[in-house]
């Protein structure tokens, strides 16, 4: 145990740690540009310089690499230290006058003017001194104008963090230093687009001055990862929270984009996680859970509007699905609740097209039930957020439910244009779509005329479809699907949450399109049914089991392989087949195939059926 004094505070600590670490631990802030948890200290920027008194000697050292010693008296913000930092800032500014980060930093520590001039007399854009100039060749044009060149020049302070990170941590090695002295730069090998770069973006995110553009390392190929939850309207990182209300609320690592799973490097997140909760070696686990009842609530799939090509989804950027607009209008969404188009314009007119993928002979014939009301809700919200002109094109306005018709009237009173007619076409206006405007063509069936409405934004009210794997799930649980592909209930009126398999219940849109209140009600019913079955602790078997009449059985064993439930065994002593009535589900296959007619099915005896046949044939 040793003791050091920092800014007059005596701090007990251990040998071998750096001054910066110790100071940070007790909350004393030392400015630094080139320090990062994932990289060993390097003292490149030297901004962390401090004044050290020990045994009557005063020294100035970079605190990020200098280890503490017993009895050190350290000043982090003495006049002398600040003076050195100001000179450092001036020197860095002379090199990178355009860097906002450096200008702010210099301003904060009181740099009034930069005394170091660049050769040649161009005025600097620097806000602080306006004396520096920038060399012509150091300026970089708009992205893409120089396909391959120095990676970071305008803001690069040559701290080398990007190079070290790419090399040592990411284990990619796409960046390197080039040249010496004034000509020193960070660049890709041979100044050519790097083949090794995986565009992970680590260099640009670690750069203290934000000087790196990925474009310059690997032009045309840096693609941000679209956020699935935001329907690609925002981007995410490989490590991300799937959606804000995720339960449990923990981030996940996307194996396909995480650099660790490509190069074995990085693990920067592990260095940052104080709880040490990140484990890259974690594997998917299949867990088997024994249960007595199962509730299927696998939900629905939104209709893919690309299947209706004449609405232009995917072809025109200003055609959105309702779910995308829902995200745009959400305060926690990609635009913070502001309705803006992909080109950042605010739409002045919006067209909402109902029944996309519903009530349509070419796609789905059924009504998706929720679209009319969510379209009205979107109209209401867009009116509120963007004060836009809104046109709703509907086939029939279907607003059943408590308070729904009132809401429809309210939206109508708000001045939303409600047009009864199916939209035939969406196409760019005469400017060829240069201004992003689209024209919706529809017939107003109440007025009996064709309308062409120019709009800035088209919203498609997509319908609800069964999940893509509904058939697979159905087979797994031995239940049926209705003709549209939604799971079939045992009876539409008398058993609306039961299925044909005992102990398996349905809730929500997997059974058919429905809104949230209906889903909640059905889920409650399914839970109650499941509880009722579990609470009883036993269940009643159907009485239609089969049994063997021992005296008549010939012991031919032909019934044994027929039983799918292995309920039939053979009594070797008596040479007779025996049916275990607990296992028997009562299909009667063995009864029909017994050559000696010695198996009888309760409720479905042969005599009964023969009488039934006779009965149904007695009348003409």
């Amino acid at each position: 145990m040793i003791k050091v004094t920092i800014n007059g505070r005596e701090i007990p600590t251990e040998k071998g740690r750096t001054i910066l670490e110790v100071a940070r631990e007790v909350g004393i802030e030392i400015p630094t540009l080139c320090n990062h948890e994932s990289l060993p200290p390097y003292a490149a920027c030297r901004f962390c310089i401090v004044e050290i008194h020990r045994k009557g000697v005063t020294r100035y050292r970079a605190s990020c690499i200098f280890p503490v010693e017993d009895g050190m008296v350290i000043q982090t913000h003495s006049e002398r230290v600040l003076k050195i930092r100001r000179i450092l800032a001036e020197l860095m500014l002379a090199r990178c006058p355009e860097s906002d980060v450096l200008r702010d930093l210099a301003y904060d520590i009181g740099v009034g003017r930069c005394r170091f001039e660049r050769p040649r007399g161009e005025k600097s854009p620097c806000q602080i001194c306006r004396i520096c100039t920038v060399r012509e060749e150091m300026r970089i044009g708009p992205p893409g104008s120089i396909p391959s060149t120095f990676v970071g020049v305008t803001g690069c302070i040559l701290c080398g963090m990007c190079v070290r990170l790419c090399d040592d941590v990411m284990q990619i090695g796409a960046l390197a230093f080039e040249g010496r002295g004034m000509r020193r730069r960070v660049t890709t090998p041979f100044r050519k687009p790097s083949e090794f770069c995986v565009t992970c973006g680590a260099c640009s995110s670690i750069c203290p001055t934000g000087a790196i553009e990925l474009m310059r390392i690997r032009p045309q190929e840096s693609v941000s990862i679209p956020s699935e939850f935001e329907y690609g309207l925002a981007h995410r990182k490989p490590i991300h929270l799937p959606f804000p209300q995720a339960v449990p609320r923990v981030p996940i690592i996307d194996k396909h984009t995480c650099v660790y799973f490509q190069t074995g490097g990085c693990k920067v997140c592990e260095d940052n996680c104080q709880a040490q909760a990140i484990d890259h070696a974690m594997q998917d686990r299949v867990e088997e859970i024994e249960v007595g009842t199962i509730i299927l609530a696998t939900g629905f799939k939104g209709f893919d509007p690309k299947r209706v090509p004449y609405y232009g989804y995917g072809a025109y950027p200003n055609v959105y699905t309702a779910l995308e607009v829902e995200r745009l209008l959400n305060a926690a969404g990609p635009t913070g609740g502001e309705l803006v188009l992909r080109d950042k314009r605010k739409p002045k007119t919006v067209g909402i097209i109902h029944c996309v993928g519903s009530r349509d002979e070419n796609t789905n014939r059924y009504c998706s039930r929720v679209c009319c009301l969510y379209s009205l809700k979107l109209a209401h919200l867009i009116k509120e957020h963007a004060a836009a002109d809104i046109y709703n094109f509907y086939i029939d306005m279907r607003t059943p439910g408590k308070g729904m018709e009132e809401f429809y009237n309210r939206v109508a009173e708000e001045g939303v244009h409600l047009i009864r007619g199916k939209v035939a076409d969406v196409y760019p206006d005469s400017a060829g779509g240069a201004n992003g405007r689209l024209i919706i063509q529809a017939e107003d069936t109440l007025m009996g005329r064709i309308l062409k409405v120019p709009v800035d934004m088209v919203v498609l009210a997509i319908g609800l479809e069964p999940q893509a794997d509904a058939q697979e799930i159905r087979r797994r649980f031995n239940i049926s699907c209705s003709s549209e592909g939604f799971f079939l209930e045992r009876h539409p009126k008398l058993a609306p949450v039961d299925t044909f398999s005992d102990g398996i219940y349905l809730a929500g849109c997997c059974q058919g399109p429905k809104d949230i209140p209906d889903t909640v009600a059905q889920a409650g019913a399914a839970a109650a049914e499941a509880l009722a079955l579990m609470d009883a602790g036993f269940f009643e078997l159907e009485p239609n089991t089969a049994f063997v009449v021992e005296e008549e059985c010939s012991g031919c064993k032909s019934c044994i392989p027929l039983c799918p439930y292995t309920a039939i065994s053979f009594n070797e002593e008596k040479k007779r087949a025996v049916i275990n009535e607990t296992l028997c589900k009562g299909c009667g296959t063995c009864v029909a195939s017994c050559p000696s007619g010695s198996i009888v099915q309760n409720l479905f005896e042969d005599e009964e059926i023969f009488s039934e046949i006779e009965g149904v044939l007695t009348y003409a």
């Binding site: 087979r475 031995n478 049926s480 699907c481 209705s482 003709s483 079939l488 539409p492 044909f500 398999s501 239609n544 027929l562 799918p564 439930y565 589900k585 009562g586 299909c587 009667g588 296959t589 009864v591 029909a592 195939s593 099915q601 479905f604 042969d606 059926i609 023969f610 039934e612 046949i613 006779e614 149904v616 044939l617 003409a620």
Partner: protein, 173 residues
Amino acid sequence: MPDSNWTPRIVAFFCNWCTYTAADLAGVSRMKYAPSVRIIRLMCSGRVDPQFILDALAKGADGVLIGGCHPGDCHYVEGNYKMLRRFQMLKRMLEDMGIEQDRVRLEWISAAEGEKVKTVINDMTGKIKKLGPLGIPQKFEEWDRELERFAREVDAKQQAQAESKSEPEAVHA
């Protein structure tokens, strides 16, 4: 030519889980189909004993329809496959017996296919209408009558022989 007012009588064996439910759905959906079918519910098409089919035909049915779940969808895993096996054999047998193929039909109809119940029944009714009544009981009666006639003829012959034999006896006596 069959009577124009004549409607065939078809006995249908429907499995509880798929086809019977589909027939129920057809009813709930108020679908209209020919009133020629009389449905007998069984738990599974695998319960259909070939005897039932023969018995139904023998008792006067003009056709027999069997409905089961689609292959792979059987509530009892594979009862419908068992039925299919029996059906293939029975069909050959019926052919040998001179019963037309269209009179006995196996259909896979899932619980959601109320529409299919309707089309299958209408289609089958139409085909059997063209074939006319099967009338096996009538044929049985005919055969019975024929047999009786034969029996009577034989009896009469025997009696005649007996008489012709007894006459000389009487002479001798």
